[in-house]
C-alpha cells in the first residue's frame, strides 16, 4: 500500500515531480561541477603558472662564480665545472617525476661570428628544443619549447639532432640575417632555421642544439645548468624547515611533499656533483598566486553549494505545500502523522536519488566542458564522489522538505479538505 501510494503519486503528479526533480538535478549539477572545478583548479593554475618559466635550476656543485651581466657571460667558457648530459634522464626518475613538466639543459659558449668580413663576439647557447629522452621504459619529450613557452620563433624550430640554429632577433638585425640564411660561427657554416624573439638576453644570442654547443666547446656531454619546471605545492612553514633537523618520519613526510625545496633536494641527489635550487622569483610567487586563486574558488564553491541547497529546499517546500488537500484526505481516512510524513520523506528520497544521479552525470559533463573550454584539458570527477553527492542530495532534500512536511501533517483535515488554510 505504501509503495503504491508513492508510485501513484509519481505517476499522477508528473508536473510537480518534474519541477522538484528539475530543481534537484540543477542543484546537484552545479554542486558537482563546482566541486570538480575546485578540486582541480590548483593543478590547472599550477600548469598555467609554469608558462612563467622554470622554477628550479640545477648547477654544478663546485662551480666558480657566475660573471653574467645582462645575460652576457664574461667568464672564459671552459672555466668552472659542468654537469653531465648523461644524468639528465634521471630527472624523470625522482620521487616526484610525475610533477616534472619539463626541463631544458643550457650550455653557453662564447663564439665569434664572421659576417661580411667583420667579426663579432656572441654567445652561442646550446639547449634541447623538443628532444626525445627516455628513462627506463618511459619516453618523453622535453626542451625549451615546453619550459620557455614565451620564446617565439619566426621560421622553424631547429631539430635537436641537426646543426641548424636560431638567431636572436637583435643579433639577426645586426647581422642582417633572416630565416634560411647561413652564418659562419667558429669556422662552421650553420644554417639559420629561424629568428628567435624572447624579450630577454637570448635576443642577442645564437641558440643551437646542445650537441653543437658541446662540439664547439670541445666538451662532449657537458651541461652548464638545467632549468626544471615542476608542479609544486606552495611553501608553508613546514616546507621551509631545514630537512637536516628532522627526524625519520617527519623527514619522510617532508620529502614526500612536492615542496620546491624537496624537489630540489631530490634533483641534487639524482644528478652527480650538482646543486639544485628554487628560482625564488618564480617559485615563491607562484605559491602566493596559487593560494589566492584556490582560496577564491573554494569560497565560491561554498556559495554555489549554498545556492543549490536553497534552490532544492525551495522547490521541495513548494511542491509539498501544494498537496495539503491530499494530506487532509489521508488523515481523514485515518492515516497517522507518522504515516503521512513517511510517504513524503520516501518521495523526497526517491526524487533526491534520481535527481542526484542525473545531476551527477550532468555535472560531470559540465565540469568536462568547463575544463576543455577554459583550460583545454579535462576536468574529471572521481566516481567515488557519487555516493557522497547522493547522500548530500538526500540530506538537503530532507532538510528542505522537513518544515513543509511538518506543517502539512499538523493541518486539521477538515480545513484542508474544505480548501481553507
Amino acid at each position: 500500500m505504501f509503495a503504491r501510494l508513492v508510485y501513484e503519486s509519481f505517476r499522477r503528479q508528473k508536473r510537480r515531480k518534474l519541477l522538484a526533480g528539475a530543481a534537484i538535478v540543477l542543484g546537484v549539477t552545479v554542486a558537482t561541477a563546482m566541486i570538480a572545478v575546485a578540486t582541480d583548479i590548483g593543478d590547472k593554475i599550477n600548469r598555467e603558472l609554469r608558462t612563467i618559466g622554470a622554477n628550479l635550476v640545477v648547477t654544478p656543485q663546485e662551480d666558480s662564480l657566475d660573471l653574467e651581466i645582462g645575460g652576457v657571460n664574461l667568464k672564459p667558457p671552459t672555466d668552472g665545472a659542468f654537469l653531465s648530459e648523461a644524468d639528465l634522464p634521471k630527472i624523470k626518475g625522482i620521487f616526484w617525476h610525475n610533477n616534472i613538466t619539463g626541463f631544458a639543459p643550457m650550455l653557453p659558449v662564447s663564439v665569434t661570428v664572421q659576417h661580411q668580413g667583420k667579426q663579432q663576439d656572441v654567445t652561442l647557447l646550446g639547449t634541447y628544443f623538443a628532444k626525445k629522452v627516455s628513462y627506463g621504459t618511459e619516453e618523453f619529450t622535453t626542451g625549451v619549447r615546453s619550459t620557455h613557452p614565451w620564446w617565439k620563433v619566426s621560421g622553424a624550430w631547429p631539430k635537436d639532432d641537426s646543426w641548424d640554429v636560431l638567431v636572436g632577433e637583435r643579433l639577426a638585425d645586426r647581422l642582417q640575417e633572416n630565416a634560411g640564411g647561413v652564418i659562419t660561427v667558429a669556422g662552421r657554416q650553420l644554417h639559420v632555421s629561424g629568428v628567435l624573439s624572447t624579450g630577454g638576453a637570448e635576443d642577442d644570442q645564437i641558440v643551437a642544439p646542445l650537441a653543437l654547443a658541446q662540439e664547439v666547446l670541445g666538451k662532449p656531454g657537458a651541461v652548464k645548468r638545467v632549468y626544471v619546471s615542476a608542479l609544486t605545492k606552495p611553501e608553508d612553514a613546514f616546507g621551509r624547515r631545514d630537512p637536516k633537523s628532522m627526524s625519520g618520519a617527519v623527514y619522510d613526510r617532508w620529502y614526500c611533499t612536492p615542496y620546491p625545496q624537496a624537489i630540489a633536494l631530490q634533483l641534487t641527489e639524482a644528478m652527480s656533483h650538482s646543486h639544485a635550487e628554487q628560482i625564488r622569483q618564480v617559485a615563491q610567487n607562484e605559491g602566493a598566486v596559487l593560494t589566492r586563486i584556490e582560496g577564491l574558488i573554494f569560497l565560491i564553491t561554498l556559495a554555489a553549494l549554498f545556492a543549490s541547497a536553497l534552490a532544492v529546499s525551495a522547490a521541495m517546500a513548494t511542491t509539498i505545500f501544494e498537496r495539503r488537500a491530499e494530506v487532509g484526505l489521508m488523515k481523514a481516512l485515518g492515516a497517522g502523522k507518522l504515516a503521512v510524513a513517511a510517504i513524503f520523506f520516501a518521495e523526497a528520497a526517491l526524487l533526491a536519488l534520481i535527481g542526484g544521479a542525473i545531476g551527477f552525470a550532468l555535472g560531470g559533463v559540465l565540469a568536462h566542458e568547463i575544463g576543455r573550454s577554459i583550460f583545454s584539458s579535462d576536468i574529471s570527477i572521481p566516481p567515488v564522489l557519487l555516493p557522497v553527492i547522493l547522500v548530500i542530495a538526500v540530506m538537503v532534500t530532507f532538510a528542505g522538505s522537513a518544515a513543509a512536511i511538518r506543517r502539512a501533517v499538523s493541518l486539521d483535515p477538515v480545513f484542508a479538505l474544505r480548501g481553507e488554510l
Binding site: A314, E322, I370
Partner: protein
C-alpha cells in the same frame, strides 16, 4: 445598536471616498504581504539570497583582476630599460621614469661592473637603491638589508674619486650573494673590491639568495657604486601596475621620454600573468553564471508557489469584477516591489560577502561597485515578474468558480 454602526460605516465610507483610488491598490499589496507573513517572508528571503549572491559574484568578478594583478606585481619588473648597445643611461633617466610612473609602479636602477677581489678573483658588483629593490623584488631572501648610503656622500662624489686610496676612511655596507660570500668574505669580515685601480671597502651587512644570477654578486648602494666606479646605472627595472594596455601605454611614454634607452617588456611575466588572469576570470564567470542561475531558479520556484497559493485571492478579485489588466497590474506590482526590496537588501548583503571574501582571501577590501546595483535590481525584477506572470497566465484560463470551490 444599528445606529452607531451605520454611523461608523458612513464615516468609513466617507473617509475612504476622500482617499485617492490608488490607496486600495497599495492596501491590497500591503495586506497580502502582512497577512501571509510566512510565505511572503520566504519569497523575500529567496530574493535577498539570490540578489546577495549575484552582487557578490559580480563584485568579485570585476575586482578579482585588480587583486590578482597585485599578486603578480610581486614577480618584480615587467618592463626593463637598458642603455642602447650597453651604454649607460642618462643621469636623469630615473627621475624621468619616476615622473612618468607617478605612483603607478616602482622602478629600481642597477649599475653593474666586473671588479676584482683582493686575491684577484673577478666578481660582478652591482650598485642599486636598496629601498627600491626591497619593494620591487620581494622574492629576494635577504638576511639583513644594508642602509642606503648617507645622501651627502652621493652629492659630492668627486673628492672621493680623486684620491681613491683614501676611500679606506670608512667602509660601506654591502649585500653579498650567498654564492659570492665564501669567495669575498668567508668569515663575514670586511673585504675590499677593486675596479680600474680604485678600491672599495665593504662590510657584508647581509646575504641575498634568489637562486639566480644575484647569488654570485655583491650589491652596494648606488651612491657608493657611482663614487667608486664612476659608472652610471645601465639598467632600470620597472614594475608597472595596471592592465596590459596600461603597461603598454607606460612603455610607449618611456620610449618617447628617454630616446637613448631600449625599453623591453619582460615577456615571460607579462604573458604568464595574462594567461593566469584570463583563465581565472573565465572560471569565475562560469561559476558566477551557474550560481546566479541556481539562485534565480530558487526565486522562481518559491515565488511561483506563493502566487499559485493565492489562487483564491485571485478568484475572488476576478469574481468581484476586477479586470484582467488590474489583476495583471496587481500581481506585477507585487512582484516588482518584492524584487526591488529583495535586490536592495541583497545588494547590501552581497557587498558584505564580497568584502569578507576579499579580506579573507586577498587581505584587502573589495571596493563596493555601485554600478552593479542597477544590474542586480533589473535582474531581480525580471525574475520576479517572470515567476508571477507564469502562474497568473495559467490561472487566467480557469473559471473563478472552479478555484473557489477548491478544485
Amino acid at each position: 445598536m444599528s445606529a452607531p454602526m451605520s454611523h461608523q460605516a458612513k464615516d468609513l465610507a466617507a473617509s475612504r471616498a476622500r482617499v485617492p483610488h490608488t490607496s486600495m491598490f497599495l492596501r491590497m499589496l500591503l495586506r497580502a504581504a502582512v497577512l501571509r507573513r510566512g510565505r511572503a517572508a520566504s519569497a523575500l528571503f529567496a530574493m535577498v539570497v539570490a540578489a546577495a549572491v549575484a552582487t557578490a559574484m559580480l563584485n568579485l568578478y570585476v575586482d578579482v583582476q585588480a587583486k590578482l594583478r597585485r599578486e603578480f606585481r610581486n614577480y618584480g619588473a615587467n618592463i626593463i630599460l637598458v642603455g642602447k648597445d650597453g651604454a649607460s643611461l642618462p643621469a636623469d633617466a630615473l627621475s624621468h621614469v619616476d615622473a612618468l610612473l607617478a605612483g603607478r609602479g616602482i622602478a629600481a636602477p642597477f649599475g653593474l661592473v666586473v671588479a676584482r677581489t683582493s686575491d684577484g678573483q673577478p666578481i660582478v658588483v652591482a650598485g642599486t637603491d636598496f629601498d627600491r629593490v626591497q619593494k620591487l623584488d620581494k622574492w629576494w631572501s635577504v638576511s639583513k638589508w644594508p642602509e642606503n648610503s648617507i645622501p651627502t656622500e652621493s652629492q659630492s662624489p668627486l673628492p672621493v674619486a680623486e684620491n681613491a686610496t683614501s676611500v679606506e676612511q670608512s667602509s660601506s655596507e654591502g649585500l653579498v650573494g650567498v654564492r659570492a660570500l665564501p669567495v669575498v668574505s668567508p668569515k663575514g669580515q670586511e673585504f675590499s673590491l677593486s675596479f680600474q685601480g680604485k678600491t672599495l671597502r665593504l662590510t657584508p651587512a647581509g646575504t641575498v639568495q634568489t637562486g639566480a644570477a644575484e647569488d654570485s654578486r655583491v650589491y652596494v648602494s648606488l651612491a657608493d657604486f657611482v663614487a667608486w666606479s664612476s659608472v652610471q646605472p645601465s639598467t632600470i627595472e620597472i614594475g608597472a601596475n595596471g592592465s596590459a594596455e596600461e603597461v603598454a601605454a607606460i612603455m610607449n611614454q618611456l620610449v618617447q621620454a628617454i630616446p637613448d634607452a631600449d625599453v623591453r617588456p619582460v615577456r615571460q611575466i607579462m604573458e604568464g600573468e595574462a594567461r593566469v588572469l584570463g583563465k581565472t576570470r573565465a572560471t569565475l564567470l562560469a561559476a558566477a553564471a551557474l550560481i546566479i542561475l541556481t539562485a534565480a531558479l530558487c526565486v522562481l520556484s518559491t515565488l511561483m508557489g506563493w502566487v499559485f497559493d493565492r489562487r483564491r485571492d485571485f478568484a475572488i478579485m476576478k469574481a468581484l469584477g476586477a479586470s484582467g489588466r488590474l489583476l495583471n497590474g496587481f500581481f506585477a506590482a507585487e512582484a516588482a516591489a518584492l524584487g526591488a526590496t529583495g535586490a536592495v537588501i541583497g545588494f547590501l548583503l552581497g557587498i558584505g560577502i564580497a568584502a569578507w571574501i576579499g579580506r579573507v582571501n586577498f587581505h584587502a577590501a573589495v571596493v563596493p561597485r555601485f554600478s552593479v546595483l542597477p544590474i542586480v535590481l533589473a535582474g531581480s525584477i525580471v525574475v520576479t515578474l517572470l515567476s508571477s506572470i507564469l502562474p497568473i497566465s495559467l490561472l487566467r484560463k480557469v473559471q473563478p468558480a472552479v478555484i473557489l470551490r477548491g478544485e
